[in-house]
Structures are given as structure tokens and as C-alpha cells.
Amino acid sequence: MKFLRTIILIVGLLALMGTSLAQRGRDGNLDLLYWQAVSILNPYLSGGTKDIYGSSIVLEPLARYAPDGSFVPFLAAEIPTVENGGIAEDLTSITWKLRDDVVWSDGTPFTAADVVFTGEYCMNDEAGCTARNFFNDIESIEALDDHTVHITFSVPKPFPYSAFVSAESPILQRAQFADCIGVRAQACSAQNFGPIGTGPFVVRDFRPNDVVTYEANELFREADKPAFQTVTLKGGGDAASAARAVLETGEADWAWNLQVDPVVLAQMEAAGIGQLTSSFGTSVERILVNFTNVDASLGNDRGEYMDGNNPHPILADLRVRQALSMAIDREILVEIGYGPTGTTTCNIIPAPEIYASSANDDCLMQDVEGANALLDEAGWERGADGVRVKDGRRFSLLYQTSTNAVRQDFQALIKEWWEELGVEVELRNIDAGVFFGNDPSSPDTYGKFWADVQMFTSSAAGTDVEAYANRWTCGEISGRQNQWLGNNQHRWCESEYDALSDQLAQTVDIDERAELIKAMNDMLVQDVAVMPLVHRADVSARANSLMGTQKQSWDSELWNIADWYRGQ
């Protein structure tokens, strides 16, 4: 009897502890460190990933990506598919069923009207909405009832999950933003700094470009979450000191985007109080090959495609491009620049898994001899100073990239390898703000690409790589007529590739899509329009005591912050 009583007592105590353990706000404060500080908490007007992540704690989309690239419903009751009738058979519409138990943090109910409003907000061309392309081809967004939203497309959409999906396209509250449509969006500081959301936290205090403090949302739909009462998102400093604050001094629990020398990171990690956590998206560091002549003497025609009548004097020859790619030792690049935070790749589309081609893996072996033989065959002969010459033209390349320690290391290494081939290489690095900017009057933008080769990292948005693959179609060629804003900066044009792209737009079956995407990837890589170098991971650091994190690259890394908690 006494034994039984003890058991009951113990069970009772455990149950009590259980409830107290599962209380909202039980774990106090969570310190996040973003060396690029958050500037604005409205992702539709954001200036970068940091703003999108900062707002993802508060604002929620209908669905988010999971770490494996699948979808998880957030404000939607389920993910619409053709099978469950959520997507029309002809792929021209999608119907989202919303959860009916969600309230905004001010207590008012979340309804389909908010979703429709968010669409109007971003699709207004005066607003300068940075997620405008998530709403491409949308004809109308209507609320069928309070908890059903129907989106009609002007063309069949094999992948209709872009509007209202992921941290880049969350739902804004209509009541709060009603006066911020169009041009007025810019001056709505109060709204942009303190958006009312449905997420696990609410904004308590926001100091632009410095610090954001959040508090647990008392009306969050899961009673026992979030585990943290407050979140402090501090900004400023640089990546190395952010890593130090988590891995060595323990002043922060989580630090974002740590592109730091791998040796330094490993030393910091050895202190044993935190660890690196990384995930791979589609980010690939690559070298773009220019297919047009960028000789300054061409004047207005410099770098213009001109229907293929302005070919690059050296790089138009496939053998030359192959030789340049073969001379690169990708393993060494990864070792020096990225360590565990990158891996070699021969594909420009290395992920998700189903899209990754295995047809190009021989690029992993450096082959200087073979490269030299190819150049000999192409008619480039070594001159007296070791630099190859053909028809009186020296094999001389201008190689540009943005200013960044790792990129300058890469430039130096690759220059050395290319010099072994008898190629003269001039290096140039340009401030990132200028290089990636689109100032049409600047000669140094990556869009103009007035150099022979250039290097940077780019990636697809989310898991659907169709829009990304379409960047290399002929219609996307950048030039004067589109103020150098085309996405095909190297002016590479193959009708066969365009045909694949057209076919992709008509294809629904996921396996067929994968085959097409692989074919497009192989064509780009095998024609050496582009030389993939490193498949880059997104790296963050977390304190050992911080549990429940699931780092990912498809959506905000803070996507499941409601599930984070403090372990022992």
C-alpha cells in the first residue's frame, strides 16, 4: 500500500513537473546575433535576407518549407495538391484552406481577407515590393469564404506554391496595413517596424540596424509554445566576432551567416560551448564565361549580344572554355575557402537531390596536361614570354568578382592554375554594393559583365528551380535594351536550351521535370557556359544548450523558433 502511494506521489510529481516544463516562456531570453543588423521588419520592403529572417519570427506564411524541401502548413490547414482538389486539373488555379483557429497578436481573427490584402499590397507596382516575382502570372486572388482563398493564374502553373509560401511572402494584417498601399508603403514606418503577426513572438522594441526585442505571443495557437519568453536579435560587428560570441564567450545562443576562415572557425569550436550548424541549399560559387566581346573600343556595342554577331574573341571556342575549367582544382578551393561549410560540385543545380545530375563528375579531377593539349589543339601557341598567342592575339583574360577575402583567395589560386596553361590573367575586385548593384551608369556591375570571366554565388529561390534555370534562356540576355538587367549576364544563347525551358513550363510530373532540369544543367555545364566551383552551405552557430533548432536553407533558419528550447 505504502509502495503504491509512493508510486502515485512520484507520478503526480512528474506530471506536475511536466506541466511546468511545458509552459510558455519558461526558458527566459534567447540571444540571436546577426552581424548584418535588421533594418526593417516588413519582408516585402526588405533590403536582404537578415530582414526576412528577423520578420519570420513574427509574420507567418500559409506554408513554409521544411528542411527536406517539402512543405509544412502554417496558416493553411493543409497543403493543396491536385489529389486533394486544392489545385485545379488544368493547373490554372490553387485553393488554400486556412486554419480557423488563428488570431493575430492583437486578438482579432485571421481571415482570408488578410491573405487577399497581402496580395494586393505586394502586387501594387508603386510599392516597390521585393517579393513581387512571387506573384507573377497571378490573375486574381479572391476569398471564397472567411477561410478559403482562391488564386487564379493566367498560365498553367506546374509549381503554384510561391505566393504566400516561405518567409519571403508571409501574410500581413489588413487592418494594420490598409493605409500603406502603393507609394504610401514607404512612409509607414510604424507598421514596417512593428508588424502585427500570428507567429510565436511579437515585436516589443525595434531599433533599426541595431537590435530587435521580441516577446512571446500570448495568443499563439499552441498553448505551451514558445519556450522562450523573450528574444533579442542583436546586430552589428562582423562574422568572425559573431562566431566568437557563440562559440567562445557564450554571450549569444545563435549566430547567423558565418562565412569565416574554416581554420578560425574550427579553433573557436574547440572551446566546446557551441557548435556550427549548416545546411545546403542551391548556392553555388561559380565562374561565368562571357560570350560577347567586351573590348572597350566597340563603344556602344561593348558586351552586346547582337544575335550572336559579337562573339568573344577567345572564349567563343568550346575547347578553350573546357581547358579553363579542367585546370581548376575544386578540392583545394573548398579546403582553403570553406572547409566543412562547402563541398565540390560540377553542377550548377546541385540540389534538391532529385535535380542533381551525376553526368559531370569528372570535373572534380584537375587535368592541367589535358587542358594544355586542348589549347594546343585549338591553335593557341605559347609565345616567347609563355603566354599563348593565336593570330596575333594574346590569351589574356580579365577576371572580376566582388571584394571578399575568400573570393580574392580563389582569384589568386585560379590565376596561378590558368597561368600554367599560358593564360595571362588580370584580377579585379569590386565592392559588393557596386558589383551586385544595377546602376546603369556604372561600368562595374555584374549585369554589364564588361570582363571576360566573373565569379559570384547565386541560388534558386526555394526548391523549385524552374525560374532559376530559365535565367539562361536567350530572352534573358542582358544588354542595353533592358538596362543590363537581364538575368543571362554571360549572353549565352542555345535554341536547344530554350526548347527544354518551354517543355519544362508544360510539364507537371515531378520525375519528368527532374529529367528536364538535369538536361538543362548538363547542357550549361558541358558547354562550359558556367564553371561551378563550390556548393556552399549556409552556416550558423548555436550554443550547446539551445535545442530544437532545425537549420535549413529553403526558408528562414528561424522557421521553427516556436519549438526551440533551452536544454541542460
Partner: protein, 337 residues
Amino acid sequence: MARFLVRRLLVAIPTLIAISFIIFAVLDLAPGDPTGNLPLTIPAEVREQVRRSLGVDDPFLIKYAKWARQFFVYEPISLFENATGITFPGQEGRLRILSWQTRSPVSDLIVQRLPQTLWVVGLAYLLGIVIAIPVGVYSAYRQYSIFDQVGTLVSMIGFSVPTFFTGLLAIIVFSVHLKWFPSIYDTTLVVRDWPSFVQQLRQMIMPVTVLAFFNASQLSRFMRSTMLDNIHQDYARTARSKGLKERVVILQHVLRNSLIPVVTLIALGIPGVFTGAIITEQIFRVNGLGDLLIRGIYNSDIPLVQTITFMFAVLIVFFNILADVAYGYLDPRIRYV
């Protein structure tokens, strides 16, 4: 004196207008794009829309006129309204200078950043002066003594080692190894009781020391050399031969004369306090005005950079006048006409 002041102030107006125009022109001509730091997944057409919504591609003169009107008319009105609570009728629709990164009024950002900059950079400046003057005076008085030699060595180190090195060194020693002080400055900390005051001291100690060391090194060398210039002058010998105490000779005669160039230097350095210390602020994440400015530059946030740089220009002009006025008090020979 009054006439001098009025004349100087009147001359300052066209100077400042010219400066504002030059700054604007330089910033406008500089390459850079506020959408340059957006993720590359955002297509070019969308960037174009963002730029249009910010008014980036407006003609130069229109942009300048807009800014000038906002700076010289709208911002003062807003400041006045916020300070007094009185609202001007018919002014509701006016647009304030909005930062491109945050879409919020630039003056709000500046007001938000000012406290930590004044605390850290201002205190370091004060501390630097308080250390430098006695050290400089004594070093000159006892030239080539041990004190002077050590002082010279220390100030040479302080002067030639950059703050990004001393700052990092301080963090590694005192934050990483000894764990005495935090390496992250908490700008939200409000001092309301003893523990929070101690916390404020702890977080200020490293950035203030690093900066004060740098300031003191610079100023003490200058103080020492002007003291040396004066200490061997005839008037000092006259004072001594009159039988004045050594203390009076040094502090009332020599020091007063030596202070003239030092005061100018100090006055001209004060505007620098307001723009903050870019590097030190970044290392310790103080996030004051220096950090605001440098991030504005990185992100081509032209309205923000323009406003801060122009305010800097105003301060420089103002403190120049102030230094001239201070001359008159220190040196009765100077007359203003």
C-alpha cells in the same frame, strides 16, 4: 565681438549650402545601388521597381531640391512639433527624409543612435583630454626624465596601433579568456538602479578605454610640444625672475599660452565625437552614429549618408567659430574686428 560673430555666422550660411550641394553631388556620382544587397534570387525587374519606389533614378537636381526642402524646412518643423507638441496646420502631408534601408525618418535614427555615441565616444574624448593635459605638461616640464621617456613610448604605441587591433586584443583578453567584460554592447540597457549601472560600466569600459587611449596619446604629444615651445620663452624666465612660484609660472603663464593651439585641436575634434568612432563602434557593437554612417555607405543609403555628412559639416563650421571665440578668452592680444 558681436559683429565678428554675426559676420562669421552669415558667411557660414553660403558655405554650408555649397557644402551640402557638393556632398550631394559626390554621393550621387558615386557608384552604388540600394538594391545591391538584395538576395540574387530577386530578379532585375523587381529591383527596378524597388528603385523607382525609392526615387533613386530621379534627376539629380530634383533629388537635391527634395532633400534640401526636407532638411531645411520639414525636419525643423517636425523636430519643433515633437519637442513642443504643437502641430502646424496644413503640414500633415509633408514627407520627412526617409532612409532607404529602413524607410523611416533619418532624424529618428540619429536621435536613437546619439545616446550611445555620446556616452562611449564622448566619454572617451573627455577622458583622453583629462589624461593628456597633465601628462603632456609634466612630460615637457621634466623633459627627458623617466616619466617623459615612458610617456613617449606609451603614447607612440597608442598613436600607432590602430583601434581595430587594440579593441580585438581587449576582447580576446578580457571577454574570451578572463570573461570580465561583455564583448557585445547592449543598447537597450536602461540605467535605473545600482546593478544596471554596474552593467553599463562593464559594457562601456572596453570601448571607452580603447578610444581614450588613442585620443590621449595623440593629444598628450601635442600638449607636450606646445609646452616645450613656451617653457623656454623669455616671458617664462621673466616670471621666474620676478620670484613667482614655479607652480604659478607653469600653470598660469606657460600652460595658459600653450593651451591656445590645444584648445583649437580639442574644439575641432568635438564634431568627430558626433560622427562616432566607426571602427570601435563596430568591434564592440555599440551601434552608434559611426555604425549608422558606415552601414549607410555600404548599402548606398544616400539620404542617410547625405544627412549625417551634412550635419557633420555643420558641426565643423560651428566648432571652428567656437574655437576662434575661445582664442579671445585665452589670449587677450587677439581682438575681433
